[in-house]
């Protein structure tokens, strides 16, 4: 009995870890969708690029002699967020801005093209094989009887929880309190009206892409440290999962993306633990279909009214 519940707790912890990173990526989808109503298909690739940049930054800084771990991680985070944001900004400038205002499908196809382009760009630049990095943060706390099954909360998992929590709080405060955040909300409410009232909507849209990409980079660094492995193809499936999380929570809603990410992560880890790890993707896509069927607005989303 104790063993079974410890096993359950372990799966819950694993699920919450993955889920909180899904939530970080999902925010990029949900913010962009909330403002310009398009699915930024290339967002998963931005996360993948964030992971690569983190690996490059960690290796480079170690070679330069930065040994103190918190400093190393902080520098890496800053570099990775900066470069990924530049990617997010550039992608919007090149691929989405010129097609904005047209048919939705055109923007989506452009985004798919961008996703394929970025994936192959990284493949050509860094090779298609897995790149592994030795884990920097080891150890953790174990619970339970020493002879039986032990549930472990590793330090890395704790760091992921804390980093996600801090980022989310920061973002929520930014959106709720700051001038720019207010402009963001205004633009997502009514872009034309916000423009008439003197908000530079183009700048706000760029900002949305930059924030989304920066959060994806945080997720990239955290998951890169957690898994220790990356390849150019991780972005596709992670992006899909994060999108599922965004839809699950209600696309356009930031708390919804957080909730959706956590639910999806837990569902996945439970599926792999009690059913079969091969079918965990099937279960999460099945969940997406069910949500869209029975509650298209998601858990926390507002129903969309179509005006003629």
């Amino acid at each position: 009995m104790l063993e079974a519940s410890l096993y359950f707790i372990q799966q819950l912890l694993n699920g919450l870890t993955i889920g909180s990173t899904y939530a970080l990526i999902a925010i990029g989808y949900t913010m962009v969708y909330g403002i310009i109503g398009m699915i930024n298909f290339a967002h998963g690739e931005i996360y993948m690029i964030g992971m690569y940049i983190s690996f490059i930054a960690i290796s480079g800084l170690t070679m330069l002699g930065v040994e103190y771990l918190p400093l190393l991680l902080l520098f890496t985070l800053a570099i990775s967020m900066f470069i990924s944001s530049t990617y997010g900004w550039a992608v919007e400038q090149v691929a989405y801005r010129p097609v904005r205002g047209g048919n939705r499908l055109i923007a989506l196809i452009s985004a798919i093209g961008m996703s394929i382009f970025l994936q192959n760009y990284v493949r050509i630049a860094q090779g298609s094989r897995d790149i592994a990095m030795p884990s920097l943060i080891q150890g953790g706390w174990s619970f339970g009887p020493p002879e039986g099954f032990q549930a472990t909360l590793s330090y890395m998992q704790l760091i992921i929880f804390i980093a996600t929590f801090v980022t989310m709080t920061g973002l929520t405060l930014f959106i709720a309190r700051s001038r720019m955040g207010r402009a963001c909300r205004a633009v997502s409410e009514d872009m034309k009206m916000a423009g008439l009232l003197g908000i530079d909507t183009n700048r706000i849209i760029s900002l949305t892409f930059i924030i989304g990409a920066a959060l994806a980079a945080v997720a990239g660094l955290l998951l890169g440290l957690y898994y220790g492995v990356t390849n150019p193809y991780v972005g596709f499936i992670a992006g899909l999962k994060a999108f599922t999380a965004a839809v699950l929570g209600g696309i356009g809603s930031i708390p919804g993306a957080m909730l959706g990410g956590l639910i999806l992560g837990v569902t996945e880890s439970m599926t792999s633990a009690y059913f079969s790890s091969e079918y965990k993707d099937v279960v999460s896509f099945g969940l997406l279909v069910l949500i869209l069927l029975f509650r298209p607005t998601g858990l926390l989303g507002k129903p969309e009214v179509e005006k003629i």
Partner: protein, 422 residues
């Protein structure tokens, strides 16, 4: 000039920021740890060159634009050319079609084996493109999991043959039917969704099918796939050296000619051509029928259609199911041609390629889709040394196409009459 300089400089610097970390610093495993190696001088030079190019382009963008737009384009003069009547246009079109079909029929007997084989592959993509064209081009439903129906078709032939010994000709309609059923089952619940949700759900469905094929090992063979799928026969005449099934006669023995493996290749080509012609014919007819018109009307304005009393679920479902069935036919033919299938052939990239064919050709336009399928399949074969850059170019092309010419190379033209303008 001065106000342009700063944005251009920023664009150049951004290019450097984007390109340098990923291209200029390579991660290399050194024992257990990772180290960074600087790229060779050539790559670095390319990066600087790219940044300079972006800078200069941004600086002189408007001047360049002026030069490009000042080039006179050949334009159809209004009123001068005599108005071609619909009857005349139909006649020309028919003549053109007959010539093209005749050439396509005769050509393989004089061409090399490899080329005919490539042409067969092109025809499979033409068929897939035409099928997806119904869904995306005509009905305006973005389907990112089209390859799932292709996989269903391919696996239905392979499995029905493996377990029940059905022949290709029995399986071909069954494959179409099964794929259509899958399309129906998927479409029924999800077609109520708005465009971009639909895209993601179909993408998820495509992944689900691939994962199932990969993991349902005792039925599908998992990642090892299914081999020894027989080629189609011509009224019981087989194209192998010896007949595999009892009662069948090899083609060359029946006609008393020497065995040659190219008969099989040409036969497959002709079969594919036949299927493609059938597809074109069916779709052409459909677009002139009420249901075809309803597809396009629904694509243009859903709310208007509903207020005119069209049942959008039925219309969308018909497009989705029909599109799926063509993928099923193409899939059955694909597995017969390959003789071996595995889930590797049905990844998302395949869906993206088919979508790119439709988009590049011009959504809704049949001729455009055919030409795009030829271009997308033949060009990579011609440029084999650029194989590595194929997908890169392909993604870039999708973006550029959407930015510059979202309607495609040969956009669909409605049949219409023109009144003389004087």
């Amino acid at each position: 000039m001065k106000e342009k300089f700063v944005p251009a400089l920023i664009a150049g610097i951004v290019t450097l920021i984007l390109a340098f970390p990923l291209l200029g610093l390579n991660l290399v495993a050194d024992g257990l740890s990772l180290v960074i190696e600087g790229a060779d001088a050539k790559t670095l030079r390319y990066i600087v060159f790219a940044a300079l190019a972006v800078f200069l382009f941004q600086l002189f963008k408007e001047k360049l634009g002026g030069i490009v737009s000042s080039i006179p384009l050949p334009r159809k003069a209004y009123g001068q050319a005599s108005v071609v009547s619909q009857a005349q246009r139909d006649k020309r079109e028919r003549l053109f079609t007959i010539i093209v079909v005749a050439l396509a029929l005769i050509w393989p007997f004089f061409a090399s084996r490899g080329n005919v084989d490539l042409a067969t592959l092109v025809l499979i993509y033409v068929m897939l493109g035409l099928g997806l064209n119904i869904v995306v081009g005509l009905a305006g439903l973005l389907d990112l999991g089209y390859v799932a129906f292709y996989a269903v078709g391919a696996y239905s032939y392979a499995l029905l043959h493996q377990y029940f010994g059905f022949s290709f000709w029995v399986c071909l309609p069954l494959a179409g039917l099964l794929a259509a059923t899958f399309g129906f089952i998927l479409g029924f619940p999800v077609l109520r969704l708005r465009g971009d949700y639909l895209a993601i759900v179909t993408l998820g469905f495509g992944e689900i099918i691939r994962i199932l094929l990969n993991n349902w090992t005792h039925l599908t063979g998992g990642p090892n796939g299914i081999g020894n799928i027989p080629k189609p026969s011509l009224f019981g005449l087989e194209f192998g050296r010896r007949a595999k099934e009892e009662g069948n006669v090899p083609f060359h023995e029946f006609f008393g000619i020497d065995y040659s493996s190219s008969y099989k290749v040409v036969f497959l080509y002709l079969l594919a051509l036949l299927l493609v012609l059938l597809t074109i014919f069916v779709i052409r007819r459909l677009t002139r029928m009420p249901v075809g018109r309803a597809w396009e009307a629904l694509r243009e304005d859903e709310i208007a259609c509903r207020s005119l009393g069209l049942n959008r679920t039925v219309i969308k479902l018909s497009a989705f199911t029909l599109g799926a069935s063509f993928a099923g036919f193409a899939g059955a033919f694909f597995s017969a041609r390959q003789g071996f299938i595995s889930p590797e052939s049905f990844t998302f990239i395949e869906s993206a390629i088919i979508l790119a064919i439709v988009v590049l050709g011009g959504m809704g336009s049949q001729l455009g889709v055919i030409l795009a399928a030829i271009a997308m399949t033949v060009l990579p074969e011609l440029a084999r040394e650029f194989q590595e850059y194929r997908m890169l170019m392909f993604g870039l092309m999708m973006v550029l196409m959407m930015v510059w010419r979202p309607q495609g190379l040969l956009p669909m033209k409605r049949r219409h009459m023109e009144l003389a303008n004087d």
